[in-house]
């Protein structure tokens, strides 16, 4: 029997997470709706499937894994967890609900340079499990926020600039700066960040060399320290990797595989979300979107059976069952059919019609 490549990848990821010291976290398919209603902006899709439980509570089919994990976390010790779960979200193209399978890790507790490097390393290993042709893009929201703060623009302009940054739209970012009266020096700084060299060493050298105060220097150095521990051959610094600053802070990252048209891995540090859920600890994690790997897996192999038994309504059922029992005990695969199947491969054909 053939096992699909997606299952192999999924099993490989589970083994990787477990082998790196993370404990599996199993959760229910649904959760009280209130948890998501209070943190809707954190969710990638705003629509949630809800239903009323027998005790009258409004429940929701999980649109997200991280919120459930944090909710149950106690601020006493560091937890390293991994999961493989289904979430239910609306597809942005079809606007209908879809079941999406995610596998990922959450590192919750005391998060420092070493733990950030560790999580990024596990992310790189996860991408390697999927394909050798991969890239991990890394950004830092604290550094980006510091640059945006210097521009002195209002919230609407800031949102427009963030949109431009996310889309690598340098020409419009420059025009927005001009329209908002941003100084030439600060505009140049923003454009420099948007067009930063991908190479981690070159990017970090430039970030560390910028004279933007002690706080900046410290953040840039921390960013450099986290990245310097990693395999840099498939690592890139790219500030177009963004996420909601109401929930995320510091390091954020996204993983890409050649041949897959969108990011397959997404993660980051989400201390702000922890605060919203009244937790004092820090947290970082990532998810791999297994459904996005469908295109990569290609066409499934034609299923193979050691024995195919053909039967009719007149066939003695005991003879069919005997062959099934014999095949199973001999560790062989067997399939019964009324007609010779044309979409499978088989070793032996037993015609009992």
């Amino acid at each position: 029997m053939s096992i699909s490549k997606q299952n192999v990848i999924s099993d490989g990821l589970m083994a990787l997470f477990s082998g790196c010291g993370y404990t599996q976290y199993k959760m229910s398919k649904f959760e009280e709706y209130e948890l998501y209603a209070e943190n809707k902006a954190f969710l990638p899709s705003k629509s949630i499937i809800t239903f009323t439980d027998t005790d009258g509570r409004l429940m929701a089919l999980k649109p997200d894994v991280t919120l459930s994990i944090i909710k149950n976390f106690r601020d006493e010790k560091t937890e390293k967890l991994y999961y493989k779960e289904s979430v239910y979200r609306t597809d942005r193209n079809t606007h209908t609900f879809a079941e999406i399978t995610q596998a990922g890790i959450e590192y919750i507790g005391e998060v420092g340079t070493v733990s950030l490097s560790e999580v990024l390393t596990v992310a790189q290993c996860a991408l390697d499990k999927i394909s050798d042709e991969n890239v991990l893009d890394v950004s830092d929201l604290d550094l980006l926020s510091a640059v945006l703060d210097r521009l002195g623009v209002d919230a609407e302009t800031r949102a427009k600039l963030l949109f431009c940054i996310e889309h690598k739209n340098v020409h419009e970012a420059a025009a927005i700066c001009d329209g908002a009266g941003v100084s030439e020096e600060n505009k140049a700084l923003l454009l420099q960040i948007m067009t930063l060299d991908f190479d981690p060493d070159k990017a970090c050298a430039l970030l560390c060399s910028l004279d933007l105060g002690e706080d900046w220097k410290e953040k840039a150095k921390k960013f450099y320290n986290v990245l310097s521990a990693l395999d840099k051959s498939k690592l890139r610094v790219d500030f177009s990797v963004l996420n909601d600053t109401n929930y995320y802070n510091g390091l954020i990252f996204r993983g890409y595989i050649s041949g897959v048209p969108s990011a397959v891995l997404s993660g980051g540090q989400y201390d702000m979300l922890m605060r919203r859920l009244r937790k004092t600890s820090s947290a970082v994690g990532f998810a791999v979107y297994l459904d996005r790997l469908d295109g990569l897996c290609g066409k499934a192999d034609t299923p193979y059976y050691d024995t195919v038994i053909l039967y009719s309504d007149k066939t003695d059922a005991a003879s069919v069952c005997d062959i099934i029992k014999y095949s199973v005990s001999a560790g062989m695969t067997v399939k019964t059919a009324k007609e010779t199947p044309d979409s499978i491969k088989y070793g032996k054909l037993v015609d009992l019609r």
Binding site: K168, N169, Y256, G259, V260, P261, S262
Partner: protein
Amino acid sequence: MDNRFLNIALPKGRLGEKVYTMLESAGFGCPGVMDNSRKLIFENVENGVRYFWVKPSDVAIYVERGAADLGVCGKDILLEYEPDIYELLDLGVGKCRMAVAAPKGYVDERERTLRVATKFVNIAKDHYRKAGRQVDIIKLNGSIELAPILGLSDTIVDIVETGTTLKENDLEVIETIVPVSARLICNRPSYKFNSTVIMKLCEALSDIKEKTK
């Protein structure tokens, strides 16, 4: 997506032809692209580029879904569909504007819901949301100018290039929403795995744009 080639989706029509000429000048030419044939895909093995002609409103979908690495489409399409892509360059061609137009002498009666006919539902919605105006958006697929003439709508939101069609139908622009021009867009993962050639192409196109200013 074929990794041997840089796949570029061009919008059928004058705009696509104009941009192809720029790409050819930038060293990314491909024989046969401008031939008047029914062929849809053209390859140049020597410079590793492959072009295909698609409906202008479909370019962003081809790029977002990775069937094309790069594409050329109007800013109107990007604003309307908000595809998850990189917008690398304003090509400075195909210049026009997204505007609100109405019959000459039209006065907005703010006490009632404004009826707006448009092909660009999201752009219109966003525009009136920001203005705090209650609107009834009427989605049409063509001949938008007919709507206010026949009383189907009060105003229209549409692309205006020269304004001739509006003038001929006794309509006039009452407000410009956003200037529109052709943009070079890129699939996100393609940018990661073909960055050298894509950056080279961008720089060359940027130079050509500056020279023809």
